[in-house]
């Protein structure tokens, strides 16, 4: 039997999280098998994550110095407000969120749209090339970027030189360093998101386009009124996951810039890593982490609300 998926046009509004069982309201007893299906995962999470999650929360009420831990209540959380670096790192994370994510999604949508044209050849080839960056090991690609962005003689500046542009001090200049981090994230994940969006695009049946053409809609109108609405669930998925990724950014800036220069590319997770693994005040690191969890949850909820309610 051919694999088939039924896609409902999203015009119908549904409360989040409820299964779309059109008919067949299962009784409470009937619901119980769900518990059994979910049990292995739940048990694993309870055994392996309950303790670390609880420990990290508990430890955020302690302060450690010189090998001694003392209970300080909510002081580590209060410290969040006194610490200028917390604000700075949050600012950077938000900057990346607001700049990098839209650029990346726009690029992904654009490229997917282009690739979706029926007459394009080598579609699979392009798709594969686009996906490659996402499957490289972090160690490798960060090293490559760091080397390529070397100010003197780095590959990027050599290429710029070919076009007659002056070399850029990628990693030593505050603003260029941010650009460098954003560029490397975009390089890595655009293709991945593009593949997802392309799949969404390819699910839009030809009939819809035909209908729009018959109605006399131009290319742009078709895009806004047919394509984007059909893409919404896919877009939500990529936007939300990219958002979480941006707020939790660690790998790229850790290896490319170490958070510098002058903390220009410091993000909350990199900061808490330094606090925990270099200054050994894990309590404060935990406080930063939980603050981030709350913030991420709030933003995710807001995004869900906004994106779902767009007409």
């Amino acid at each position: 039997m051919t694999a088939s998926l039924i896609v409902r046009e999203h015009g119908t509004r549904r409360a989040p999280g409820r299964p779309r069982t059109g008919s067949g309201r299962l009784t409470a007893r009937r619901q119980r098998p769900g518990l059994w299906f979910a049990l292995p995962a739940a048990a694993l999470l309870l055994v392996f994550f309950a303790y670390p999650l609880a420990t990290s929360l508990l430890q955020s009420f302690f302060s450690t110095k010189g090998g001694e831990s003392t209970f300080v209540g909510l002081d580590q959380y209060a410290r969040l407000f006194r610490d200028p670096l917390v604000l700075k790192s949050l600012g950077t994370a938000l900057l990346i969120l607001v700049v990098q994510v839209p650029i990346m999604i726009a690029l992904a949508v654009g490229l997917a749209y282009i690739l979706n044209q029926a007459w394009v050849r080598f579609r699979s080839g392009f798709r594969l090339i686009a996906f490659l960056p996402a499957i490289t090991t972090l160690v490798a690609y960060s090293v490559v970027f760091r080397v390529m962005m070397t100010t003197d003689g780095g590959a990027l500046n050599q290429i710029l030189g070919v076009f007659g542009a002056a070399p850029i001090d990628w990693l030593n200049n505050e603003w260029w360093a941010r650009v460098a981090v954003i560029a490397s994230i975009t390089w890595r994940w655009t293709g991945y998101n593009m593949v997802i969006i392309l799949a969404g695009l390819q699910a839009i049946p030809a009939e819809l386009y035909e209908a729009a053409r018959i109605d006399g809609a131009g290319r742009w109108q078709t895009f806004w009124h047919i394509v984007v609405p059909q893409l919404r669930p896919v877009l939500i998925f990529t936007i939300v996951t990219s958002t979480i990724g941006a707020l939790q950014l660690f790998d790229e800036n850790f290896i490319l810039t170490g958070g510098g220069p002058n903390n220009a590319t410091l993000t909350p997770v990199l900061y808490l890593y330094k606090i925990g693994f270099q200054q050994f005040d894990f309590g404060y690191a935990d406080a930063i982490a939980w603050m981030l969890v709350v913030l991420t949850a709030i933003i995710a909820v807001i995004q869900f609300r906004i994106l779902r309610e767009k007409p």
Binding site: Q59, G66, G67, D152, N262, N263, Q279
Partner: protein, 437 residues
């Protein structure tokens, strides 16, 4: 059970687990055992190291095993880049560490103060040999009671490597340079006549700031644990760097690879760097053989030393170790033996912190790369002159602040004193320490 009941029970269970199981702050480390290093120790030990250090240990381990029946020494290369994550987690968790670990000297104090019970007292092993080791390294590896816990291995004695051809072309006699100011004038001449910069530095990583500060006998903290990053000596260093950059005398090269490229490209006339730079030059830039020589660092004033330290590592035995006695015996074999230390210089480029080793033949040879200069002997003579400085557990926080300050003052427009005052304030806020003076 109601949903709320389940949630509540889960949280209570988790909380109970957390309270009973966790050991905040690494207090779960092993009890203090007294080491008994003896040639008769047997069994198995595991050692963590990286890079050429691991190569050296593996080589010496084989020798030791051959001469001591019943011993197995397993050296594991854990890589350098994230080694400290592994070590930190092991110390924090109170478990998971091997019998011996490698540590860079500038990490010593940080670990010693955060994990006072984490490392074994090495006095039974090396106690009587204090005078035989690089004094700076010995102090850096000792705890606040003066007990050695991280044994010195290799030194990062600093000298000034310079291009003899550039100096002669510019008509300057290198021996005439006594102070940093002299060097700056020479740099201007060289730049005017040859178009070369004076030195290459990684200004976005702080450049040679800490190196030059140590030359004046100072670190980021003083013996009382107060912050000393904005003292007159520190301001002098920052002003010097700023002046040099202003005059176009510094080539800014980020990272190791860029420094190597810069040397290969022949950008600068001098490179103040540690002894291991010899290995790098000879390995990466063999084509420049015969064009280099080494001399001591220029001075700031009568009080400054002609040398400093950059890098170098040591070995330590965690209190968690399962076979500390064999570890101690092997450590002594590696570190306090003339022949072994000399072999590590020869094979792996590790310059001994064990001073008697510096008298052996290998170190007396002239090096053709440096025009026949006896470079190793030269560095050997400098090593005992390295000034000791205080590190404390907040070294990395201070380092970060200084890196920012150098960026602001040297690459940017901030006044050196202001940049350093800001850095001092930043460190004070982050660590709760007082600023000295």
């Amino acid at each position: 059970m109601t949903r709320r009941g389940i949630t509540f029970a889960a949280m209570v269970a988790a909380g109970a687990l957390a309270l009973t199981g966790c050991a905040f702050g690494g207090t779960g480390n092993g009890t203090t055992t007294t080491l008994k290093p003896s040639a008769d120790a047997t069994g198995k030990i595991t050692i963590w190291s990286w890079d050429v250090a691991a190569t050296a240990l593996k080589r010496l381990a084989k020798e030791y095993e051959a001469n001591h029946k019943g011993t197995t020494i397993d050296v594991v290369d854990i890589g350098y880049d994230n080694a400290y994550d592994k070590i930190s987690v092991g110390l924090q968790a109170g478990t998971g560490l091997p019998d011996m670990i490698t540590l860079e000297t500038d990490h010593d104090q940080g670990y010693l103060s955060q994990f006072p019970t984490g490392f074994a007292d090495l006095t039974p092993v090396f106690g009587s040999m204090k005078a035989d080791f690089d004094p700076f390294k010995w102090d850096a590896g000792s705890d606040k009671d003066g007990r050695l816990r991280m044994a010195p291995w290799d030194s990062g004695t600093v000298g000034m490597f310079y291009r003899t051809d550039y100096f002669s072309q510019a008509g300057i006699d290198p021996a005439s340079i006594k102070t940093w100011d002299d060097l700056v004038s020479a740099g201007e001449t060289i730049k005017a006549k040859l178009g070369k910069t004076l030195l290459t530095a990684d200004l976005s990583a702080g450049g040679p700031f800490s190196m030059l500060l140590q030359q004046q006998g100072q670190g980021y903290f003083n013996a009382d644990g107060e912050i000393t990053v904005n003292t007159p000596e520190a301001v002098a260093v920052m002003t010097l760097l700023k002046t040099m950059n202003r005059k176009g005398l510094i080539k800014n090269a980020k990272g190791w690879d860029a420094s190597v490229t810069s040397a290969k490209d022949g950008d600068s006339a001098v490179t103040p760097e540690a002894v291991w730079w010899i290995g790098t030059l000879e390995g990466e830039a063999p084509e420049l053989s015969g064009k280099y020589a080494v001399r001591d660092l220029p001075l700031f004033d009568d009080q400054s030393a002609p040398t400093s330290n950059n890098g170098g590592s040591g070995l330590a035995i965690p209190t968690q170790a399962k076979n500390p006695d064999l570890a101690a015996a092997f450590m002594k074999f590696v570190l306090a033996d003339d022949a072994n230390q000399a072999s590590m210089m020869k094979n792996e480029g590790l310059f001994p912190a064990f001073l008697p080793a510096l008298k052996s033949d290998f170190f007396q040879q002239p090096d053709p790369y440096f025009g026949g200069q006896k470079v190793y002997q030269f560095f050997g003579d400098l090593t005992p002159k390295i000034p000791s400085i205080t590190f404390t557990s907040d070294q990395s926080a201070a380092s970060d602040a200084i890196t920012n300050a150098v960026g602001a003052a040297v690459l940017g427009n901030t006044d050196p004193k202001k940049a350093l005052d800001d850095a001092a304030q930043q460190i004070a806020t982050a660590t709760g320490r007082k600023i000295a003076g």
